[in-house]
């Protein structure tokens, strides 16, 4: 391909320029290489194949700051495309020189070096481990404390990329004392910095209970709640992610968040955003409600159900709908009170339609079905169950009829209502195998009513009556 030949030609031309006497030529050549490699990964591979990296790495240590910036830019541009290219960079020994650059005076050099390390560590945990082994983490923590905002951003994003792969890496970052500085920077007014800081804290907290407790001990609540009201969408998203990662581990941590008013803040956040930004907030509510029934009741009391219902209805993406369905299932599954609160919001027909819809993804169907089952098994609020009788498939119908069979024997008003709304008729029309659970439930319901009513509503009753008319011999 001619493009490849062109590439090789370009690399061959640029390479000797790197060794030129005039420093400006070296810097501009490095800049050119960086921009080429930045553009697409074939060019980056050509840079690696052209044996340019060792040259760059050697001269990195001696040259002045412009050259260092340009060389770090090249390394970043090459390392961002794929893990193999990043591995090539690590193998030519660039990590040590980049770490030395992190100690430089010029903040631009530090920023370029930190950015390169971040892109390398992003791909997988071995590369992250290599970055950590080169001793980058304490220097990055020092970089975070520098006054330049851009440097802080990049250092925070690099720490986030390092700690996201495994608990040991996160522990290394924590041992360098990063949490205290990150927690202080939550108050900074710069939106992009807040994004990175919140992302770093959530990557640290997600791995284990101890790490989450360490993050919480840095007194981030209730300051994090102000981030949930920020004007920047991604700050809200990352703030919600952080609360989600903390809430998911144990009931005590969820309790802490609820006591600090976190649930209200997250609910408001869900209400004000649209799209994937809502997803972490929805999952956070689901996790909090899943731990215990008191927490679930706290979610209900904080008016959590209406936003979840609107999410379920409004959103177009299936995975957000699936998350909302799961969260509603967790809220409603504990006791009849909870199920009633969910049913009153008129969300059960929506869940049923999502389960039945052939266009929805498998994940959504499974989650909707599970949520529906969990709520139905505890739901005693009959007006909400009525509409479901008509459309439900047999496996859901069994639960609905089961609930009716539990409530109707004890409540006479409910029985009357059941007859007048046509529920009894519908139950008679259900065909169930004799001996199955559904048949037992239907028998229980039929036993609640006098014989005539049951016969009246059973299908084909008019035929039976007409036959009796036919066979009747009038007594004259």
């Amino acid at each position: 391909m001619s493009q490849r030949q062109v590439l090789q030609g370009v690399m061959a031309l640029l390479r000797p320029l790197l060794l030129d006497v005039v420093p400006t030529i070296q810097q501009t050549a490095a800049l050119a290489l960086g921009r080429l490699a930045n553009y697409n990964d074939e060019l980056a591979e050509a840079v690696v194949k052209g044996d340019i990296l060792p040259q760059l790495v050697c001269s990195l240590s001696e040259q002045n700051r412009f050259y260092k910036k340009a060389a770090a830019f090249v390394l970043r541009a090459v390392g961002k495309h794929s893990p193999q290219l990043a591995q090539a960079i690590v193998q030519c020994g660039a990590l040590e020189t980049l770490v030395i650059c992190l100690e430089d005076f010029d903040p631009g050099v530090k920023e370029a070096a930190a950015w390169a390390l971040g892109y390398i560590a992003r791909h997988n945990s071995e590369l992250s481990q290599a970055v950590v082994d080169a001793g980058a983490v304490p220097l990055l923590v020092l970089c975070i404390q520098e006054p330049e905002i851009a440097l802080k951003r990049i250092a925070a994003s690099t720490l986030s990329d390092i700690s996201k792969h495994s608990p040991e890496l996160a522990q290394t970052v924590v041992d360098a004392g990063a949490i205290a500085h990150l927690a202080q920077m939550i108050l900074n007014p710069d939106a992009k910095l807040k994004r990175q800081v919140l992302s770093a804290l959530s990557q640290i907290a997600k791995h284990s209970v101890d790490l989450a407790e360490l993050v919480v001990e840095a007194e981030i609540f209730p300051v994090v709640l102000t981030c949930l009201k920020d004007s920047d969408e991604y700050v809200k998203k990352n703030g919600a992610t952080l609360t989600r990662e903390i809430a998911k581990h144990t009931p005590e941590l969820s309790q802490l968040i609820v006591n600090a008013g976190g649930v209200a803040a997250v609910i408001d956040c869900i209400g004000s955003c649209r799209g994937t930004v809502r997803l972490p907030g929805i999952m956070m509510l689901g996790y909090v409600a899943a731990h215990s029934e008191n927490l679930s009741m706290a979610v209900i009391v904080s008016k959590g159900i209406p936003p979840l219902c609107t999410c379920l209805i409004e959103e177009n993406e299936d995975h957000i709908k699936a998350a909302a369905a799961w969260a509603l299932g967790q809220v409603g599954r504990h006791t009849p009170e909870h199920a009633r609160a969910v049913a009153v919001a008129n969300v059960l027909p929506t869940l049923l339609s999502m389960y039945m819809d052939t266009h929805s993804s498998e994940d959504l169907q499974v989650k909707a079905k599970k949520a529906l089952k969990n709520i139905l098994q505890k739901c005693t609020y009959l007006p909400a169950l009525e509409p479901l009788l008509h459309d439900a498939p047999p496996n859901i119908l069994k639960h609905i009829v089961g609930q009716f069979s539990k409530v109707l024997p004890h409540d006479s008003k409910a029985r009357r209502l059941f007859v007048t709304t046509g529920g009894l008729k519908k139950v008679q029309e259900i065909k169930a195998e004799p001996g199955s659970l559904l048949q037992e439930y239907i028998n229980t319901i039929n036993n609640c009513y006098p014989e005539e009513i049951v016969r009246y509503y059973s299908p084909g009753y008019s035929e039976i009556l007409l036959e009796r008319v036919e066979n009747y011999h009038p007594v004259l």
């Binding site: 810097q27 800049l31 941590l253 008013g261 904080s302």
Partner: protein
């Protein structure tokens, strides 16, 4: 004498008779002896057997009494244990009844206290309201700040525009664009123009340079540019007579600003200079210049000289060496140290952990 003779005559016959008698007796003697022995042994056996039988009966009586005694003792023990077990079962039953009532009461009153739960939920709602209000206030404050900043920026822009276009100011004769003779009052822009001072081009705004420098340097998107300002020639000067070059050109060449290239902008040995600077600072801040040597036998002969703080004549001070904080144990209330615990609802934690385990039955 006759008798004697007679006797002596009878003597051999007597002797024979005697012998014969002894002989016959002797013959039967063994037999009779054996018979007698047999009879006697049989009789003795009978006697002994009767004695043994008698002893046996006596022994049986004794053993009978003894076994009865043992059996009664064992029975008494069994009865005692059975009674004990019966009593314990009864007590356990009663204790279970009491404990059942107590546990139900306790759980209903304290652990699963409905009213405490309700109060807690109400408290949560109240807290949520407060948090929501505060967050709304915060958001409003941020909005206001942003609006203010935007407004200020707009104002500055307008003023800058006015300064640049000050030549559009209207004069007595010629009405400017913003001061149409057909409108009743001049445009606000006109008023701004009147207020503003004309902008001189010699001072370029250097602030924007700094702000865009950070992001552009890191992205390496902006190539190093050189300032390209051109000063205007002075107004109203007549062209001097003679073979002089154009004034504007001359002034341009004379006052051409310095445009240092990249190479000149940073000195070649800035790195070395900075290194020197660091070395000097470290030398300044060092306590002593002795190199830090490894722990080898080099140090064997050196005597350790303690610092002034530690070699006072009043003895070594323990502060800073043995303890780092002043403690006064007499003022402490309890022996235990502080314990960091995450705050949680204490009431709900006590479920299942409130009783000791000594009530378990054998």
């Amino acid at each position: 004498m006759a008798t004697l003779a007679r006797l002596q005559a009878r003597l051999p016959g007597l002797r024979e008779e005697c012998f014969r008698r002894n002989r016959s007796v002797d013959e039967h003697r063994k037999k009779e002896y054996k018979a007698a022995v047999k009879i006697q042994s049989w009789f003795r056996g009978c006697r002994v057997r009767a004695y043994i039988r008698y002893l046996n009966n006596m022994i049986i009586i004794i053993q009978k009494w003894w076994r009865g005694y043992q059996g009664r003792r064992y029975f008494r023990k069994m009865v005692e244990t059975a009674y004990f077990i019966m009593k314990m079962n009864f007590y356990n039953e009663m204790a279970v009844r009491i404990q059942k009532r107590w546990r139900g009461y306790y759980v209903r009153k304290y652990t699963h206290n409905y009213y405490a739960l309700k109060k807690y939920l109400e408290a949560i709602s109240v807290n949520n309201e407060i948090v929501r209000k505060e967050l709304n206030e915060y958001a409003e404050m941020k909005e206001k700040e942003k609006k203010k900043k935007d407004l200020e920026k707009k104002e500055k822009e307008k003023e800058h525009q006015a300064r640049k276009m000050h030549y559009l100011l209207s004069t007595e004769q010629i009405a400017g664009i913003y001061n149409s003779p057909f409108s009743k009052s001049p445009d606000p822009m006109e008023l701004l123009l009147r207020k503003s001072k004309p902008l001189s081009h010699s001072q370029q705004p250097a602030k924007n340079h700094l702000i865009c420098e950070l992001c552009d340097w890191s992205n390496c998107t902006r190539s190093p540019t050189f300032p390209a300002a051109q000063p205007l020639p002075p107004i109203g000067r007549q062209k001097p007579q003679g073979p002089f070059r154009d004034t504007a050109e001359v002034l341009r060449q004379r006052y051409k600003p310095l445009e240092p290239t990249l190479r000149v902008a940073a000195s070649i040995n800035s790195l070395e200079k900075a290194r020197e600077e660091i070395k000097r600072e470290e030398w300044r801040n060092r306590v002593h210049d002795n190199e830090f040597l490894p722990f080898s036998s080099y140090h064997k002969n050196e005597k350790y000289d303690p610092s002034i703080h530690r070699s006072g004549k009043y003895g070594q001070e323990t502060y800073g060496v043995k303890h780092f904080r002043e403690v006064q144990p007499k003022k402490w209330i309890a022996d235990k140290d502080f314990q960091t615990v995450l705050p949680s609802i204490v009431l709900f934690e006590r479920f299942g952990k409130t009783y000791s385990r000594t009530g378990q039955i054998v």
